[in-house]
């Protein structure tokens, strides 16, 4: 690390203490508690806890509902982050060109950041309402053409479209900044080497964008999960037939509606380990491939 100027034994600790306390209380302690409850059973009527070993895991992993939910979560993470990153990448590549529309687009494309996932859920569930929304006329011509309330594929399409809308800004900002950080001279050198704008896209821009793509993939996987709650709670409530009951939503229902603290905590632990593994995997297997000295 650079800088390192002042010498003081205690001052830096005093300075970092407030943030460390907040992180301890509301980040590390909840994680620890989740692990605690995953191995304990809460006594009914608030009577303390009893160590039960792996009993909670046996119960959770033994239920088919959990596996449906875990599968849906994995599918959602991959497809939601995949679709939103691809869309934002295409938009960033287009907005990187000096067109008349570019300044407007660069501004408008980050507007969705101001819209909460729950708000856009409310909005899209209305717009895509099979009887009242924009696709309603098509449903009158071909009944059943669009029905996210019963058709699982339609439900997921609706979730992904809404998620893409909501997730564009952050990814777009990072990728566009990455594109603009590519020295103009490399474009010139490419042109001198006979490489036209389309070819430079593949040979120069995309390879040099991989560090940003890496950052975006890591963050978007976790983000797609946290954003999923607002969408599911307002759009599908886990339906149809539990097909969109992602772990985040299931944990919420199990904990706050069914009051199954131990079960919810156990699933929390599984989900956290899953996300941590995916992130760790990305670090170890992707990161070393993507860094160049500029």
């Amino acid at each position: 690390m650079k800088q390192e100027i002042f010498r003081s034994r205690w001052l830096p600790w005093w300075l970092s203490a407030p943030q460390l306390i907040v992180l301890f209380l509301f980040f590390y302690l909840p994680i620890a508690l989740a692990f605690f409850w995953a191995f304990h059973l809460e006594q009914p009527f608030g009577g303390g806890s009893e160590f039960v070993g792996l009993e909670n895991f046996r119960r959770v992993l033994g239920s088919g509902e959990f596996w449906t939910s875990a599968g849906a979560t994995l599918l959602y993470m991959i497809l939601a982050s995949g679709t939103s990153i691809t869309t934002a990448l295409i938009l960033a590549l287009a907005a990187d060109r000096a067109l008349k529309l570019s300044p407007l687009a660069r501004n408008v494309f980050i507007w969705p950041k101001a819209v909460a996932s729950a708000s856009i859920g409310v909005i899209f569930v209305f717009i895509l309402n099979p009887f009242l929304g924009i696709l309603a006329p098509l449903n009158e011509i071909w009944p059943g053409f669009w029905n996210p309330r019963t058709n699982v594929t339609h439900t997921y399409i609706m979730l992904f479209v809404t998620n893409v809308w909501n997730a564009i800004p952050f990814t777009f900002i990072i990728l566009l900044a990455g594109l603009q950080a590519i020295p103009q001279e490399l474009h010139k050198a490419g042109a001198m080497d006979g490489s036209g704008p389309w070819r430079r896209l593949w040979d120069i821009q995309l390879p040099l964008l991989t560090p940003q793509l890496f950052v975006v993939i890591v963050l978007e996987v976790a983000d797609s999960l946290s954003g999923s709650f607002g969408l599911i709670d307002t759009m599908t409530q886990g339906g149809p037939g539990g097909s969109t009951n992602l772990l985040v939503y299931k944990i919420y229902s199990d904990g706050f509606k069914a009051y199954d603290l131990s079960g919810a905590a156990t699933q929390t632990v599984i989900l956290m380990v899953l996300v941590a593994c995916i992130t760790g995997f990305q670090y170890f297997f992707l990161e070393r491939k993507v860094n160049y000295d500029r």
Binding site: K2, F6, F109, W111, V122, K188
Partner: protein
């Protein structure tokens, strides 16, 4: 450059137009629907023609729902979270970047790790902690029962922050991205600046207050605005942390506008509410787009 770029420019232009339509069309539908009366809406369903009922709808949202109150809550929570996160980030990044000594790397790692697991994943136990913030004290005091031996009974402090502004706000600050961005920014400040200050006899706190903060005003404002917006659009945590309507935030309130199930919901009213809930952060984003982008991408260089 002398180059024939018409084909790629045409494609890029088409993509931008498609992107703009994709982002703006839903917003346009919200606005159009908000201008219609419930009766019009029932008769025409989805319409592309704006009605003239917006003011009536707005008046109804303003007087008959809790949204105005909840919008105020969002402003309060957003303000607390933005100020808090920026303040915490300033002190921590200052300690991490400008001081020698052990533990800086460890502190930074603790902070950065918190970016990987969002609050939504650990909502159950975060709720538990907020319901009794004194929990860790109790745990430490009752380890091995020493407190009981000294004072004749286990320590059982209760400090419930649920349904308070603090309880909604502080957990939202337990995330390190703001600090990470600021650390990147502080590292770009020439170290000669601090060395010169030391030579002039300026102490570390004085340097922070007199030199570093004024110097960082731009990025700090941008970060503050961004954190305000981030807090405003929270949904899951405010949903569980605030149970009384008096502490509910606007986004949660918006989703509760329709709860009577059977009849066709009053979409025009709901969309009017969506406008009220979305407009403040949207205006901030549109106005401060450049600054926010610059503030955020600092960490990506």
């Amino acid at each position: 450059m002398i180059e024939n770029t018409s084909s790629i420019d045409r494609v890029a232009g088409a993509i931008l137009i498609a992107g703009l339509l994709f982002v703006l069309t839903p917003l346009a539908f919200v606005v159009i629907t908000a201008t219609q009366s419930y009766e019009d809406f029932l008769r025409n369903n989805f319409s592309l023609i704006p009605g003239s009922h917006f003011l009536e709808n707005f008046r109804e949202v303003w007087s008959r729902t809790d949204l105005p109150r909840q919008t105020l809550n969002s402003i309060i929570v957003g303000g607390i979270v933005a100020t808090g996160r920026v303040a915490l980030a300033v002190t921590t990044s200052y300690a991490v970047v400008f001081f020698t000594g052990r533990g800086r790397g460890f502190v930074y790692a603790l902070v950065v790790a918190s970016i990987m697991l969002p609050l939504e994943l650990m909502i159950i136990t975060a709720y538990q902690v907020t319901a009794n913030v004194a929990l860790p004290l109790n745990v430490v005091a009752n380890l091995g029962g020493w407190w009981g031996a000294l004072f004749g009974g286990p320590l059982d402090l209760q400090w419930n922050l649920l349904d308070t502004y603090a309880g909604i706000s502080i957990p939202l600050m337990a995330q390190g991205s703001c600090t990470m961005i600021l650390v990147q920014f502080f590292r770009t400040i020439p170290p000669q600046l601090a060395r010169a200050a030391i030579v002039d006899g300026v102490g570390p706190l004085r340097f922070l207050w007199d030199i570093l903060l004024p110097l960082s005003k731009g990025p700090l404002t941008a970060l503050g605005i961004y954190m305000f917006i981030s807090a405003w659009i929270q949904y899951m945590w405010p949903l569980v942390a605030a149970s009384s309507p008096a502490r509910t935030m606007a986004v949660v309130g918006l989703t509760r506008l329709q709860e009577d199930g059977e009849r066709i919901p009053d979409f025009p009213l709901q969309m009017t509410g969506a406008i009220l809930v979305t407009l403040p952060p949207l205006i901030l984003i549109a106005l401060f787009q450049r600054r926010i982008v610059r503030g955020l991408t600092l960490s990506e260089k």
